[in-house]
């Protein structure tokens, strides 16, 4: 066994060098810069920041370059880097109502204070390949309106909330549990679930969200509001004792509004699902909001019948670093394990068919 490991060292080193060469590709093609990745593959960068759970564009761009564009691998790289940094504390909760809006739409209200702002979106494009991008050339500058969008726009759910037609969000100033500091245990409260969903694999969440729409735990959702723009991040350094701003970050927020017929305790009203993600991550934020709501099934007295309602199932399988690690560890040598299995099968066969079933 040890001989095999020793023999592997040289092979592993060569494999890494071959991979580096492979990653570089044709050396006649100019190498990608991190600024190019960050500026021109921005949605990939933002997905990696969201699922890698570290907001740092440059690190995410580096991870994407290093992983040759394999975003799950890039997320893994970012998570591994995370363990090398000390934790300085936490920020104040961001105030998404004060977001500098670049996009804000509602599927439930046509006329909202501040209006519907489409922003930079792929919606309404025909998804035809644009061959002009294969040529050199700069796009036209986007036209500005005379007046900017309103400085602060009320969240749609706040407007509905004034009439009491929609549930209020649970208020609390308790320290939320943090799954990067404590192992995940069940039942998990909603704040812990949201942390898990925020860093969850987008594909996994998207499929789960889709399953709820197809009837596996239906929640009658409407996209109450989706907003994207810049939010100020503040924290209180111990040495100062007052809050300071440390950055503006782009966030995407989704407020799902869901039907609720009421119960013995509660009158009929709309319930909510919530999604929040770093960057322009609309699909992620929407899927997150749908799954957040479906995971509230027990709290709202709904029948538990579907995977998207099962918090242990969802939260234990949502992380692509864990999932990828466990699936891919099957590639590592299992020679000893397999040897014993092999011997077992040989022994069973030697006993003849049906003998094992009789035992």
């Amino acid at each position: 066994m040890y001989v095999a490991v020793k023999g592997g060292e040289k092979a592993i080193d060569s494999a890494h060098r071959l991979m580096a060469e492979d990653r570089r590709g044709d050396r006649n093609v100019p190498e990608l810069s991190l600024a190019q990745v960050s500026e021109q593959l921005g949605l990939a960068v933002e997905r990696v920041m969201t699922e890698g759970s570290i907001h740092d564009r440059e690190l995410a761009a580096l991870a994407i370059k290093q992983a040759q564009g394999d975003l799950v691998e890039a997320v893994f790289l970012l998570r591994a880097y995370r363990t090398t940094l000390p934790r300085f504390g936490h920020t104040l909760p961001v105030d998404t109502a004060a977001m500098a809006i670049r996009r804000r739409i509602s599927a439930t209200f046509k006329d909202l204070p501040g209006g519907q702002v489409l922003g930079p979106t792929y919606d309404y494009t025909h998804r035809l390949l644009d061959f002009s991008l294969a040529e050199d050339g700069e796009p036209e500058e986007a036209p500005p309106a005379e007046r900017p969008v309103d400085a602060a726009m009320p969240r749609v759910t706040d407007v509905l909330g004034r009439e009491g037609l929609i549930e209020r969000n649970p208020e609390s100033d308790d320290e939320p549990r943090d799954l990067t500091r404590q192992p995940l245990t069940f039942p998990a409260d909603r704040t812990l679930r949201l942390q898990n969903l925020a860093r969850a694999d987008e594909g996994f969440l998207l499929s789960l969200a889709y399953s709820t729409q197809r009837g596996y735990g239906h929640t009658h959702p409407f996209a109450g509001e989706i907003r994207m723009g810049e939010v100020s991040v503040e924290l209180v350094p111990e040495e100062l004792g007052f809050a300071i701003e440390i950055a503006d970050v782009t966030l995407t927020e989704c407020q799902m509004i869901n039907q609720f017929k009421g119960s013995k305790e509660k009158p009929a009203q709309f319930t909510r699902g919530y999604g929040l993600a770093f960057g322009r991550s609309e699909r992620k934020a929407m899927a997150m909001a749908l799954v957040d709501r479906s995971l509230r099934a027990e709290e709202l007295g709904e029948d538990l019948t579907s995977p998207a309602q099962d918090q242990e199932f969802v939260m234990s399988h949502s992380d692509n670093v864990e999932a990828s690690g466990f699936v891919q560890h099957l590639k590592l040598p299992h020679y000893v394990d397999f040897q014993s299995e092999l011997e077992l099968v040989r022994r069973l066969r030697a006993q003849g068919p049906g003998k094992e079933a009789a035992e």
Binding site: S53, I54, H55, D56, E58, L59, R82, L85, P86, R87, G89, H90, T91, L92, P93, V94, T96, A100, I101, R102, R103, G115, V117, L118, P120, A142, P143, P144, A145, R147, P148, A151, T157, D158, R168, N169, P170, S172, P176, D178, T180, R190, T191, L194, Q195, A198, V233, L235, L240, F242, A243, I244, E245, I246, A247, D248, V249, Q255, Y274, F278
Partner: protein
């Protein structure tokens, strides 16, 4: 320190944190002469957990971490300056901490304040431009529905 002082300090620390690193470098290059100082805490990069609220206004939850660099300096006259800036730009954090110390000097530093006002104005212009471009994508259902005139 009075709350007015804290507010002024909060403002300039925010401007320095949100400016581009090259803008802070440019600002620093205009500060003459650069004072002698000690590093109380050399620029150090770590993580802070960014929090959101359930539904936007409910209980806080942990959204994800972000990199941040902090630095503390002390001028020869004993005044201490701090900086906390998102990202990993050590030089920016050190310069920002120095500027924070200088601005607390008795009598203030009108020259530095003027430079920071310029940085704030530039940022406001960028924000306004983005907000005007966003406004050009506003859907006007009301006008569409009327179709008169």
């Amino acid at each position: 320190m009075s709350s007015d002082d804290n507010n002024a300090r909060r403002r300039w620390m925010g401007i320095l944190a949100k400016a581009r690193p090259e803008e802070v470098a440019e600002c620093w290059s205009k500060i003459e002469p650069p004072p002698p100082y000690d590093l109380l805490r050399r620029p150090e990069t770590g993580l802070v957990m960014v929090r959101g609220r359930v539904g936007g206004d409910g209980a806080p939850f942990n959204l994800g971490e972000m990199t941040v660099t902090r630095c503390s300096v002390r001028l020869a006259n004993g005044i201490v300056g701090h900086a906390w800036i998102a990202g990993r730009a050590a030089a920016q954090a050190e310069r920002a901490a120095l500027i924070d110390a200088l601005l607390q000097s008795p009598g203030g530093r009108a020259d530095i304040e003027a430079l920071l006002d310029q940085l704030a104005a530039r940022r406001e212009t960028r924000k306004r431009e983005a907000a005007r471009k966003a406004a050009a994508t506003r859907v006007d259902f009301f006008t569409m529905a009327r179709g008169e005139d």
